[in-house]
């Protein structure tokens, strides 16, 4: 399958120079949108995503309301210019699936019972994509939810792992995803070690799967620290500013 293309160099590093267990550079900015209740801009290597959270707010149509809890809605959308070949705008099979699994990755931490009959809307827009946008979207949405003041049991962090040239590696790039043997996005609540999303494409042995999962958990923990840091920094930097 991957006979012609070498994804791991002679020195054991990957094509972009990373070690097998290394993440791409991450940048997180909190509160980038003024009119949203919470927002976050997230960069993972060449991936650029922006998440906005609105709510809790009144839910229409009324028959969609739940008398006991808030309804969480998640929309994942890729910009037409986010990929090399222009993507036809609008939802497709893939983005509907990603919206569903991402919502289910975040729902377990949100205390929806606090807001009966309301809706919590999460929008994730992918501006540039280089494999791993669903995990970047979940990371961004999790921070945006916290920024919106939504009560949550913890932050959700997500990362993908995969197998390339017979090796288990963390955080695949687009080439590694296309020419590799396996791709597995994982989302988890780091505090409780609860996995809320796990998908896999490809074939691996049981041992390889376990190794991959361990690597993903370690990656999520590192991302969690960065998410937490970004949230805390939002309020500490402007502390010394003067009024007026």
């Amino acid at each position: 399958m991957s006979s012609e293309i070498k994804l791991i160099r002679e020195d054991g590093r990957r094509l972009d120079g990373r070690l097998p267990d290394e993440l791409r550079p991450i940048k997180i900015e909190v509160g980038v949108l003024k009119r949203a209740d919470g927002s976050c801009y997230f960069e993972l290597g060449k991936n650029k995503v922006i998440a906005a959270v609105y709510g809790p707010r009144e839910l229409h149509p009324r028959h969609a309301q739940d008398a006991r809890r808030a309804v969480v809605r998640f929309r994942y959308n890729m910009a037409p210019f986010s990929v090399e070949e222009r993507r036809r705008p609008g939802p497709d099979r893939r983005s509907v699936e990603i919206s569903k699994v991402s919502r289910e990755a975040l729902e377990p931490v949100i205390i929806t019972e606090y807001y009966p009959r309301a809706a919590i809307d999460i929008f994730v827009e992918v501006l540039e994509s280089d494999a791993g946008t669903r995990t970047a979207g979940i990371n961004a949405a999790s921070v945006a939810l916290a920024d919106a003041g939504i009560p949550m049991k913890g932050l959700v962090s997500a990362v993908a792992v995969g197998k390339i040239d017979g090796q288990i590696v963390l955080d695949l790039t687009s080439e590694e995803d296309q020419h590799g043997e396996m791709d597995m996005p994982v989302a988890m609540v780091t505090r409780t070690n609860t996995i809320t999303l796990l998908q896999m494409d490809g074939r691996v042995t049981m041992e390889e799967f376990e190794k991959a999962l361990d690597l993903a958990v370690a990656g999520c923990r590192r991302i969690y620290e960065l998410q937490r840091k970004a949230l805390i920094e939002k309020y500490s930097e402007s502390r010394t500013e003067e009024i007026p």
Partner: protein, 227 residues
């Protein structure tokens, strides 16, 4: 001086002190919200953001959004609507005449009497303020900033009222009604927006006092500097 926590942060093992904005799991207290930790007696997390959720006893400023006999439906800057029954109105209101007393878009100061588990909000009028509110200006800030605008034991609002020479009504849902001389209202509204912006900084009260006094001393000079 203060500590910012994010959801899921471990706070304490003393579950008896767990207060608002926290949750208990396996004998430990964790933060439920993103906010400032208050660890004095009770462990609380004071949120920095979020929508206003009505609570019994809150006094809020509502805007009539719809009239559905026998209720006026109020928008109270929240995901939930407030309902004011005609019997709460201090006059006899007949069917079909409700808009003679309160019309759509009228403002009223109302009190939350009850919130049921389905989050249906019952309101009553606050006697001192006969609806609808006339004149003045309504401004809106995030409701999480209201405690800062009031200040410790009302210190900030007292300064604003005295030095700003305006009537100011601060409601729990983030709406503030200011009435007075146009120039004073401009100044007070501007300062309130600034306080809301810098709510998490320390020493605000002193800075506000200075700013207000300076604005009084040489109006034009200071106003030019501010822009």
């Amino acid at each position: 001086m203060y500590k910012i926590v994010v959801p899921g942060d471990f706070l304490s093992t003393d579950i008896r002190r767990a207060g608002e904005g926290t949750y208990v799991e396996n004998g430990k207290v964790y933060a439920l919200r993103y906010g400032i930790l208050d660890d004095k007696d009770e462990i609380r997390v004071v949120p920095l953001s979020g929508r206003y959720i009505p609570k019994r006893g809150d006094v809020v400023i509502g805007r009539v959004e719809d009239i559905m006999y026998p209720y006026w439906v109020f928008d109270i800057a929240s995901p939930y609507k407030g309902l004011l029954h005609v019997s709460e109105f201090p006059a006899k209101v007949e069917y079909g005449t409700m808009d003679r007393f309160l019309r759509i878009d009228d403002l009223a100061i109302v009190k939350v009497v009850n919130v049921d588990p389905m989050m249906r909000v019952e309101l009553k009028l606050v006697e001192e303020f006969r609806p609808p509110l006339h004149g003045g200006r309504l401004i809106e800030v995030p409701h999480t900033k209201i405690p800062r605008i009031i200040g410790r034991n009302g210190s900030m609002i007292k300064i604003l009222k005295e030095e700003g020479r305006c009537f100011i009504f601060v409601a729990k849902n983030g709406r503030i009604w200011i009435r007075g001389n146009e120039r004073n209202v401009d100044l007070v509204a501007e300062i309130i927006m600034k306080i809301a912006e810098k709510a998490h900084t320390s020493g605000l009260t002193d800075r506000v006092t200075q700013y207000l006094r300076a604005a009084r001393g040489g109006k034009n000079v200071v106003r030019n500097k501010a822009h």
